[in-house]
């Protein structure tokens, strides 16, 4: 709990500086290697790897395979293995020392026509705290984010629930099978200023105005029949008061009477 509190304080990350990555970083689309003839047009698969070590040095092992269904709807399925007895124990040990559970996927493009099979020139990695994975009984949500061209740019993993309360997971069976929800998220198209509906609405207002002149009459035009008698009444009562005073105004009113 204390750690979480500190966390919220942390990360006051400042300027962005760039330097020194010699490795070329591009999405491996459009480049087929010589032996990539087995491209399946109905889809393809990439490995999903994970790593959890007590000493916190990443050693990635295969967790499962992501099956992409090409075409319009970018469907994705994850076929994954059960955790072995040894892995379960390691995971519990890692959780006990508050280590990290990391996953990674190679950088691929999801568009079938551009797709080549995986290459080892770059991975996208992310992590979740091992304890939260254990406490959520291996139920995690993995999201792959793509850019406009369909190239995977990032991966994220969360567990539900995401907290670490220190609950002991007794049942070994709970840590055998992953209960994973996986999805691919493409960027949302941001809205532009909506001029057309606005103008339409304005026009409707104008039309309404034209059709129903009664509605748009001014306050005085609507209620003149009440206002005029009221004013007359007030004037008369005023004149009565003043008539005794003998002022010029009073005389004039008197003439009116």
């Amino acid at each position: 709990m204390a750690m979480i509190r500190v966390l919220s304080l942390v990360l006051s990350v400042l300027s962005s500086v760039t330097l020194l990555w010699t490795q070329s970083g591009e999405c491996n689309n459009g480049r087929r290697s010589a032996d990539a003839v087995d491209t399946d047009f109905s889809g393809f698969s990439v490995p999903l790897e994970h790593s959890f070590e007590v000493d916190d040095v990443p050693r990635f092992r295969l967790r499962g395979a992501l099956q992409f269904r090409g075409g319009r709807e970018q469907g994705v399925y994850l076929s994954q293995n059960q955790l072995s007895e040894k892995d379960r124990n390691t995971l519990k040990d890692v959780a006990a020392v508050d280590g990290l559970y990391r996953i990674r996927v190679p950088r691929v493009s999801l568009q079938v026509d551009r797709q080549t099979e995986k290459q080892s020139e770059g991975y996208l990695t992310t992590f979740v705290r091992a304890c939260s994975l254990v406490e959520s009984h291996l139920s995690d949500v993995i999201t792959l984010h793509t850019d406009v061209s369909g190239c995977v740019v990032g991966i994220s993993i969360v567990t539900i629930p995401g907290s670490c309360r220190g609950i002991e997971v007794e049942d070994e069976v709970d840590l055998e099978v992953f209960n994973t929800t996986i999805s691919v998220v493409a960027p949302v198209t941001a809205p532009v200023p909506e001029t057309a509906p606005y103008i339409e609405r304005m026009e409707q207002e104008m039309e309404k105005k034209g059709k129903n002149p009664q509605e748009q009459k001014s306050f005085f035009a609507k209620y003149w029949m009440y206002i005029v008698p009221l004013v007359l009444f007030l004037m008369m009562s005023g004149a009565q008061d003043q008539s005794g005073g003998g002022a010029g105004g009073g005389a004039a009113n008197g003439g009116g009477r």
Binding site: M3, I4, V6, L7, S8, L9, V10, L11, S12, V13, L14, S15, S16, V17, T18, L19, L20, W21, G25, E26, C27, D56, L100, R102, G122, Y123, L124, T125, T126, F127, V128, V141, H145, D147, V148, S149, C151, V153, G154, S156, V158, P161, G162, S163, V185, A186, P187, V188, T189, A190, P191, V192, P193, E194, T195, Y198, R201, E205, K209, E215
Partner: protein, 967 residues
Amino acid sequence: MAWLVVRLAISVSLFYTASAVFEDQVGKFDWRQQFIGKVRFALFDTHSQASKKLLVATDKNVFASLNSRTGDLFWRHVDKTGPEGHIDALLMYGQDAVVVAGNGRLLRSWETTVGGLKWETVLDTGSFQAAALVGVQDFVKYVAVLKKSAISLHDLSSGSQIWVENLPDSDTVQYQTIYSGGNGLVFVFGVVPNSHIVIVEYKIEDGEIMNKKSVEAAWMSSLESSCTVISSGILLCVDQITQSLYTLLLQSAEQTEMRQIHLQTLDLEVASGFQPVLTSTQPNPAQPPLSEFFLQLSPDHHILLQLKDGLIVPLRDFNPSYLAAFATSGERTVAAVMSPKNDTACSINLFSADTGRRHLDTTIIYHMDPNGGKPNRLYVHAFLKKDDSVGYRVMVQTEDLTLTFLQQPGRVVWMREEALADVVTMEMIDLPFTGTQAELEGEFGKKAAIQDGLLPMVLKRLSSQFILLQAWLAHLWKLFYDARKPRSSVKNEVNIDTLSRDEFNLQKMMVMVTASGKLFGIDSKSGTILWKQYLENIEPNSVFKLIVQRTTAHFPHPPQCTLLIKNKDTGLGNLYVFNPIFGKKSQISVPALPRPVLQTLLLPVIDQDYAKVLLLIDDQYKVTTFPSTKNILQQLQDTASSIFFYLVDSSQGKLSGFRLRKDLSTELIWEVVIPTEVQKIVAVKGKRANEHVHSQGRVMGDRSVLYKYLNPNLLAVITESTDTHHERSFVGIFLIDGVTGRIVHEAVQRKAKGPVHFVHSENWVVYVYWNSKFRRNEFSVLELFEGAELYNSTVFSSLDRPHPPQVLQQSYIFPAPISTLEATLTEKGITSRHLLVGLPSGNILSLPKMFLDPRRPEVVSEQSREENLIPYAPEMPIRDEWFINYNQTVSRVRGIHTAPSGLESTCLVVAYGLDIYQTRVFPSKQFDVLKDDYDYVLISSVLFGLFFATMISKRLAEVKLLNRAWR
């Protein structure tokens, strides 16, 4: 009816947000300072004796006239930035100033008294080489402009082109300078490097080539730096390698090679590695130049020489001397020479040019600022005194862009700090308490309470109360004393010793870092420069990072700022630690940074001296801490697993996250790669560390609460597409959690282009882009909400927030281009936010955030009215009363800095660019301040009246009761 409601809602909302200054508030809490930049050309108006004009042209493409008595601007013209507005040459004759701008694109003539444009001519294309005034028979009539391949002559009074001629062999010969001595000819000098010089003579009337000759000069590489024309048409050149002077009579047919004069014969020697410089003077463009000239042999050695009967005679040797310049008044030409006097001062003396004799009583002592740079330019204004002797004033420009105007015997008439024309970054620091306030603070300090017993504490309390009483009495006495004096003399000078925090913390210290490497401490109330410090060995225009490690709140520890700078020689980072109030360099030892620094990180972890810890990450991902005491290292070890940071490599499109390990090494924990062939990262911004959000959510029309997604670790990453075609270009927005690397939201603005300006604050991001389809600027706002329920209401952790936020977005048309964008900031975040938009016109618009709300409804409903939402309109209004700087425009506004004050309603704003403007804004009006015209008399008289009325009526009631009892 609905329309009426709509209009009503708009007008009501405007009523709440309208804010402008009243006429009598002008200048009350705002100020503006105008700058010009680094002076490249400066000319004194010698047309009349009484003239106060000083014309300057600067590297910021500014052409201005200064009052030489006060240093104020008479007028200023700001041209376009970049090479388009670059001022190539400035010439003055009489009342006219001729300017060549935009690499020889435009020739303009200005009237110098009011700064009006007399005429403007567009010149032919071709890169500019030189310009000169051309006179015929003692009368200057023309201006000649030399381009790479052509020369043109223009009439000085109308700008019309007299003739234009192509230069012969311009593809092999580099034509560089131009000369005219008033004899009806214009000479153009060109050089073929390391081969020969070409001299072409043109007739002024029609541009006919009268003569063309080439002279052998195998040693010459460039004319401009090593040659000049002296006497009646003698070309004089100097060469460092052969250690010789060369002369050539221009109008003689028989001389076909240059005459060599060894410097040895004059007992002179050029310092090794120094390019010698020749300076001659031509007081009147219609007459030939003088036969005297300066030869600079080393950075601090000048010699005045004369050419007499074909012989070069030394007139006076100035060793040592920093700067030398000629000046003419009437018929007399003088030379001013600046020589070092001692470590802190220089003396400037006047010498007669034709004899080299020193004028008596002409010494000006120039005191060098110990915190400033060395003088590097000297401009002399000579004038004839009543007794016919020559008097003079000088303007000295130093490395740190200070202009100092001096007159005899060394009085500084005025000073301008032109480094402030290029502010890179700034911070606003609270001023310290006065001694008495600090005393009180100290009394209740933790340490004191532990050390002292009960009795000393009581005594201490009594003594501090006594001090307070004393201070209050002194204050009263001062008030009484000031009240008797006339109002004008009361205005007390701001002084570094009298600086103290005011009641509402409205006065602060502005620490400004400029591109030239000079730091300034400026009082925010008056704009007075309180301290300045020039940092040498800094690469100009490099990235600076200013970090406030300790604020003023930790008395008796002084506040501490750290500046990360780049060394000019090594290119490595360097820490400069200083006290932001007094500008003094701190004595704290700083860690050496042997490797380039990629990222800096200020942690909330503090050491026993209350300084926050600064982490510096180098290119091998090693972490250096500053300060690095044992206590700090211990604390860092304890919290290492929760310290995360990120790095951005925009050339690879890579964002990566790291975590600190216990041994202060780092480990890579996440990576996001945005392919660079599709889009490139242009900017990454987190949230400001000192930002407070008061309300966790928004109350909806149906009384439910929509909770904000307030992730302090969220980064807004803006990308631009590499494809710039107007149909396919786009701007990408990624919201990434800086701890886990999770992409929280990803959006694409299609048919959009940069430059993108954006603000990231609270739970929203506002960005501005150029819509390439409709060709207009558009605003877009993204707001993030958790929904109707908070996942964990007590604390936010990036590691435990599994549900993605709801994202709402809306866009609007903004009918003006934008230079910069910033959001207001207040102490507790209760006040509503405004966006401060810097416009290229120099205005600063305070735009209510209310107008940038993605929940603005299309159709008005009962609930949206309840929430006070403005109905959606695609176009953003701009109202004149929203301009916070009324007519005080800020030229080329580049940044806006906002800082909270002690009053919740008030936000301090500093806009900087070429000018600096400081003001206060009140986004929700001054709800916590009584108005200036608040009627104290009325309210107190009503109060007292009511009080007495109660007393009297009570008495009357008693009497009545008594009477009734007797009855």
